[in-house]
């Protein structure tokens, strides 16, 4: 059952005081902090942001043809159990949860609904903390403007096996969108949510400042995927943070395909022992695209595992920056923390930067990081050519093979197949015979 929503309420004056306060302090942070420069360690190697951020404004309700386009293209996730679709931060369609889940206490709400009816649910987490990876200024802008997004609350012991999907479309030139995703997974719950970020046209240059926050309570099992496929004009910031508690299982996957410049910050904090957190990412950079990825794995408790794998393929004169830090606090013994960055250079003009970092304050740990950058293995290529596979197909196979390690972790055959299709489309124009 799909409901099309025609009316829309903006961030209104009826908001609770705590939220108004957080919005105000966000606005102050945004105005007071300087524009980051490459001298800042958190912005090392990043190109300078010369754009006037203030020129981007929230857009009004889009016209029908844009909405129709968005609705008919929100197909990446097949058979979601619930779904929200936004265009320019306006909710245009929602598919609510089935009644039996609502009866069990599960809530999946648009942000406005949640602010109106479930303020107490939001207050402990919503806009409370920004990532500590350099984009505090932009998180401030997000906090003062955010009006669209999804809030997912899963009560203790409830397991949802089907995926939940949220689509955010940008439609207006010089438009600003600030999508927010908040997942609160209580003890022993299980949930999977997919965010898709995309543009309705190839031309509209928009600014995306999205934020997500995951609260994983003891033994919760959370699976969050985010697919960023904006048009090649977009500026994008994704500021994600997550907290894992005792025995929390948290899996993050980020697929990055679009935008002119995309900065992705992901920080996880492990506060309970026995937690198992994975962070995977796949990026395809072409033309003059820049993917700037900053990650932070903090281990505050012993006996936990975190594993990070970021893979990038670079065409043309694109650039990628991977900067990661594993921090093992004093007393977090028996930690296993890994960090791997692999870059495949497909054009000699492409530019891959890696800054894998470790800060270890406990001695009984297994920590490692690795970064490799290289070209296509000539032997592999030769092997395929000698078996009659055309050069172009061989190249595609190798690049897809490079990413398969991440794609197979998506856990859903249909989603994996859809992502493979997206990748193939992107390669089709790139890999020439």
């Amino acid at each position: 059952m799909n409901t099309t929503v025609n009316t829309h309420t903006t961030a209104n004056a009826l908001e609770p005081q705590w939220l108004l306060d957080r919005r105000n302090s966000g606005n102050e942070t945004y105005s007071n902090l300087p524009v980051p420069s490459a001298k800042d360690e958190n912005w090392r190697f990043a190109s300078v942001l010369s754009e006037d951020i203030d020129a981007f404004k929230s857009a009004p309700m889009p016209e029908d043809h844009a909405i129709d386009y968005a609705l008919s293209n929100s197909k990446l996730v097949e058979d979601p159990i619930a779904e929200l679709i936004f265009v320019d931060d306006h909710l245009v369609q929602s598919k609510p949860l089935p009644k039996e889940l609502i009866d069990k206490g599960v809530r999946f709400l648009s942000l406005n609904e949640a602010i109106e009816d479930h303020s107490h649910l939001l207050e402990p987490y919503f806009l409370k903390d920004s990532t500590r990876l350099g984009s505090q200024k932009y998180f401030g802008l997000h906090a003062s403007n955010v009006k669209a997004g999804a809030v997912l609350y899963v009560p203790k012991g409830v397991e949802i096996n089907e995926p939940i999907a949220v689509y955010h479309w940008s439609n207006t030139d010089k438009g600003l969108i600030c999508p927010h995703t908040l997942i609160i997974a209580e003890a022993q719950s299980k949930v999977s949510l997919i965010d898709v970020l995309a543009s309705t046209t190839e031309e509209n240059r928009c600014l995306n400042i999205s934020a997500s926050n995951i609260q994983g309570h003891p033994s919760a099992n959370i699976y969050r995927k985010v697919i960023q496929n904006f048009n090649s004009k977009t500026l994008s910031f994704q500021l994600d943070s997550a907290i894992a508690d005792r025995d929390t299982q948290l899996e993050n996957i980020a697929i990055n395909l679009g935008a002119a410049k995309a900065r992705y910050e992901n920080q996880i904090k492990i506060n309970g022992s026995g937690a198992h957190v994975t962070m995977y990412s796949l990026s395809v950079a072409e033309e003059t695209q820049e993917f700037d990825q900053r990650t932070f794995q903090t281990h505050n408790a012993p006996n936990s595992v975190s594993d990070l794998l970021y893979k990038n393929a670079l065409f043309d004169t694109s650039r990628t920056i991977f900067s990661g830090l594993i921090q093992v606090e004093e007393g977090a013994q028996q930690t296993d923390a890994y960090q791997t960055n692999r870059n495949l250079l497909l054009d000699q003009r492409a530019d891959a930067n890696a800054l894998p970092g470790l800060e270890i304050l406990a001695n009984d740990v297994k920590c490692s990081h690795g970064a490799t950058t290289g070209n296509i293995d000539e032997d592999e290529l030769f092997y395929m050519l000698s078996r009659g596979i055309p050069h172009r197909v061989a190249m595609q196979l190798i690049v897809l093979g490079f990413f398969e390690e991440i794609i197979e972790k998506l856990g859903s055959d249909s989603l994996a197949e859809n992502i493979r299709k997206l990748l193939e489309e992107k390669f089709a124009s790139k890999i020439k015979s």
Partner: protein
Amino acid sequence: MSESIINEQEEAIKVDYEKGNFSFPEDYTYDAGTGLNEETVAYISKVKNEAEWVKEFRLKALEIFNKKPMPTHWASKDLENIVFDNIRYYLSKGQKPSRTWDEVPDDVKETFERLGIPEQERKFLAGVEAQFDSEAAYSRMKEDLEKEGVIFVGSTEGLEKYPEIFRPYFGKVIPSADNKFSALNSAVFSGGSFIYVPKGVKLKQPLQAYFRINAENFGQFERTLIIADEGSEITYMEGCTAPKFETATLHSAVVELVALKNAKIQYITVQNWSNNVFNLVTKRAHAEENAEVKWIDCNIGSRLTMKYPGVVLKGRKARGEVLSIALANDGQHQDTGAKMIHLADETSSNIISKSISIGKGRSTYRGQVHMPKHLKNCKNNTECDALLINTNSRTDTYPAITTRGEGNTVQHEASVSKVSAEQIFYMMQRGLSEGEAMSLAVNGFVNDLLKAFPMEYSVELKRLIDMEMEGSVG
């Protein structure tokens, strides 16, 4: 194992802990006073009787030093504890570098006696350049080296007597403006070695220099420039020991190496400053076509060491290597690493770094590997291994890798480990004490790197590691 045998063994490996822990009454002919301004710099230049261009070079560097901020936005905040006004920037006996042993003043001789220099020389060293405070107190080379045209002099003498050789490279590998401390060194440098090895000359034996700090609040700013002409080979060793003082001292050296076509330079450092010394050193090499530069760096002492030896690979097929061992005990921060800047096709570089953190010691690896566009078939391999001994020990790794171009491969690996309980149990079961077992395990951890050091250095290093490990277990 009986008590007596243990005692016997301890006796056999006993190290004189007080070695290096002594000083003589200060009596300096020239003293530039404390603090740093244009007058200090002009004074140093005057005492040294320097050419006008050297003086200009110093004054310009001073200007840069005053302008540059402290690099505390990425480096340790401990740097803020350096009070530049409390430091003496120049001291000298006012003597010309001596040529024969007899001309060396007695107290200086006694210092070197305790450091074992004459013995070293008797053994197999080709030449000895021992720096006492700012000036080279003793400098001598064997005749056969002189015959081959090798120049081995102090910085002042080098710039005065052989400007045509040294001036073209002086301050070119590391410009004054490279960082705040290279600017400081460029303003007040004194002492150090200037070496020129002519075409095709291969030195079979290493050249060696010892540095000591011997006046309270006195920073040592030596300047080293080694030029290996086409096809030549040289190994240079520097070892540092310093007496202990109560207030922090500053050591800020600049070392420039130039390896021309097909030349090979190996530069070995054993750093064992006392635990109140700030050791902020800039070291870089240029490697031309098919040249090879190897930095072997061992940091055991000092309060804070910041040192990232680099190789700029300028010519095709040039090779650069950094092998480093760092040992950080309580109150120490070893912030070391390596820089490899690839600027030509088919260049390769290798970095192997091993660090050991004991007690509250902190060791940090910071690295940079840079491969710009249009380069083909460059390779880099980086390995960083950290060993943490106690539960509150700390290690950090911050590499930065930029890769472009065709056929270039970069790999970086780092791991953190502790000495496994099984290893210790195995050794204790065979009669070793826990401390001995720990020492043995740590020595095993660095063993493959120790092998790269000349024999007597690796013996000394092994002892130093044993010494540092003492009392860290239990």
